[in-house]
């Protein structure tokens, strides 16, 4: 042959020393001739090349059933010819460990599910009962301030608290009527926030927070009393404390699972949202039952509960504006029916008189 000799570096995988070999491609073999010793014939169909190589022209070759031996070819022309003739250069090695992979996948999904849906909720429920009132209050204080700052969308001040003297007196009267027959773990802290959201919520440590938007849409004091009683139900059940402990546990686990592929934060928030909503279903039901019983005991018409839910619906329960409320409050219709069922024609008096109601409605002015 008159062809000029082409060389490559053979790394035999036994010693860190490259052997210079003369190469000739003569299908079906690539012949490697060392300076001393017998030539090696590599079958062209068994040639493999690792993917994602940085060098644009050099070719690194290996053999299908040999994990360590490598041949580095720098000659462009030969590299091109091998690329053109070798049929399975980029074929991947067969999968290994598939059963172990499936086994551990199932195990990890099961353990995460077990932790998020069983262990963390059970522990949160147990521990919430042992949380000392001062600890719960601290948790509530922190969360309340965080919420005030988070709700403020324009300026730099947290959302103001409304406390006109007459309005506060009316609110205190309503609180007294609702709680006189109740055994509370700690005194309530009732706040009205000057924000147009039509909502109310409870926080750890006896916080009940009403929004001015809710006072605006309510047409009589019993509707507010109903919402108030519902939130007291959450306080008595210590739902907010459970929620806080529970999210402390599950957020970390979810972060672990999704990793940091995109800050992880978005997926985390969505997933956490789902978990909280499903948690709320049962708690909301219990709070409604508690509310209707408390209203009846306090001599206030439980129909307020039905009316305020209807009000939410008239305002368009499916409108995105109220999404925040309804994502946490499931299935309004069935709740209205339940509230109407509990209505008895026993002696009831309005929760506030007309003057007090006016004062409460204008507590933010």
């Amino acid at each position: 042959m008159t062809e000029t000799l082409v060389f490559g570096d053979l790394l035999d995988g036994a010693r860190a020393f490259p052997r210079r070999v003369a190469l000739s491609l003569d299908a079906p073999h690539l012949r490697l001739t060392p300076a001393e010793g017998d030539p090696l014939d590599w079958p062209v169909r068994a040639l493999r090349s690792p993917p994602d190589q940085a060098h644009p022209t050099d070719l690194v070759l290996s053999l299908a059933d040999d994990p360590v031996t490598r041949l580095v070819i720098r000659d462009r022309e030969l590299a091109e010819r091998i690329r053109a003739t070798a049929p399975a250069l980029h074929k991947r090695p067969p999968l290994q460990n598939t059963t172990r992979l499936i086994g551990w996948s199932v195990a990890s999904v099961a353990s995460v599910a077990l932790i998020i849906f069983v262990l963390v909720p059970v522990m949160a429920n147990q521990l919430a009962a042992f949380l000392p009132p001062s600890g719960e209050k601290a948790l509530g204080d922190t969360t309340f301030e965080q919420i005030r700052s988070a709700l403020d969308d324009s300026g730099f001040d947290p959302v103001p608290i409304c406390e006109s003297p007459d309005g506060s007196a009316a609110l205190a009267k309503m609180e007294a009527r609702l709680t006189e027959n109740l055994e509370l773990p700690y005194p309530l802290t009732v706040r009205v926030l000057d924000h147009e959201m039509i909502n109310a919520f409870a926080l750890p440590g006896g916080y009940v927070v009403l929004f001015d938007g809710l006072l605006d849409v309510a047409e009589d004091p019993d509707e507010i009393a109903a919402v108030f009683a519902h939130e007291i139900g959450h306080v008595v059940a210590r739902d907010p404390s459970r929620m806080a402990l529970r999210s402390a546990g599950s957020i970390g686990v979810l972060g672990l699972l999704f990793g940091d592929f995109a800050g992880g934060a978005v997926v985390l928030l969505l997933a956490e949202r789902l978990i909280q909503a499903s948690y709320s279903q049962e708690a909301e039901m219990n709070a409604d039952i508690f509310a209707s019983e408390t209203l009846a005991q306090a001599g206030i018409s439980p129909l307020g509960l039905a009316r305020i839910f209807e009000r939410f619906q008239e305002l368009g329960g499916d409108q995105p504006t109220f999404m925040d409320h309804f994502m946490a409050h499931p299935d309004l219709m069935s709740r209205i029916e339940r509230a109407q069922d509990t209505h008895t024609h026993a002696d009831v008096t309005p929760s506030l008189n007309a003057a007090e109601w006016q004062a409460l409605k204008t507590i933010c002015d």
């Binding site: 790394l11 860190a16 020393f17 360590v68 195990a107 990890s108 990793g259 940091d260 995109a262």
Partner: protein, 399 residues
Amino acid sequence: MSDALGTEFVGRKGPYFWLSLKTGVLTILTLGFYRFWMKTRLRRYMWSAIRPGGHPMEYLGTPLEKLLGFLVAVVFLAFYIGIVNLILMFASFSLFAGNGAAYGLSFVGILPIIFFAQYRARRYILARTRWRGIRFGLEPGAWGYAWRAALHWLVTIASVGILFPRQVFHLEKYRADRTFFGTQRLHQGGRWQMLFPAMKHLIIAVFLIAGSLLAGQNGDQVAFFSLPLGIGWLGYGAIYFRVESLRLLTDHKTLGDIRLQAAPRAGQVMKIYSVGYLIVYTVVGAGFFALFILLFAGFMAMIGSATQLDETFDIEMIQALSNTPVWLTTILTIMLYFTIFLMWNVLSQVFVGLPLAAHYAQTFSVLEQRHLTDVSQRPRDEFAEAEGFAEALDVGAAI
């Protein structure tokens, strides 16, 4: 005849950009699960770009073993993190009436596991790296590393950072002395005190900042000038320490009779960082600006068409606009977030990661290389857990 092997670097921005963009998009589309493939492919490219003596390094880790290792880690860590966080939160509010203690404790509690994970990740990466067909390796010793690292950190903190070089030296020695190339054990020589001079720019910066703060308290105008200078100097000091300590530690490493040599320059590394991040910020910023202009133009066009229809522009239009379904705006926001995140990652890989690797590679050489003929193969380290713990905790498993 010099008996030294230099290192060439053949990675290029173009192919690396497309590879990281492609794998980044797939990672986002698969909610993060493609990240094991992404990491494997980027490493394969980067390793093959580094060629001591003209022979490419080879990365042989597989995505599936990373996935498996991650799943194993999740089984153990989910329990630890879920329960421990919950208990810490409870304890912190019961005993300290605040959540600051919980975050602090939770971080301290996870630290030994982070050190453990870092060592395991290094073991995995070395076990899957080959050069000239010979495997690297790291002996088991992750727990020993974890408690040593924890103690060294305590000492460093107690000494207000003065003993930091001691920590850097001893931890590197622990790792290096357990590292193998084939049958040959790596040895870290030198003393920890040799790293002190590498601290000089950090010390200058600390004095500058302290002086500025003092001057500022006395109302001296010079603080306006010297404080930013001090902060800039601190950045340079940190880079200088990293580069210099790496150089000194490498120069004192031996592999049998083979010696290693590194000559990275702090000025060059500083330049790569500043120019690289300037480009990244500019491109991402320009993208942001273009998007803003597009949205603004769209908004103006809507108002324009409304006025043509002889409707008065009033507040209701804004309201109509703000009634765009929440899911739509949410999806748009999430997409925007991911796009920015992706571009940020890809560009910093290409304009900072790649040039840095190039500089470190090109300034690295192997001396007395004739002794490489003494090195022979070591057995494969199966190590099926891979870098799962580091991956799950998001530490030390970066490419």
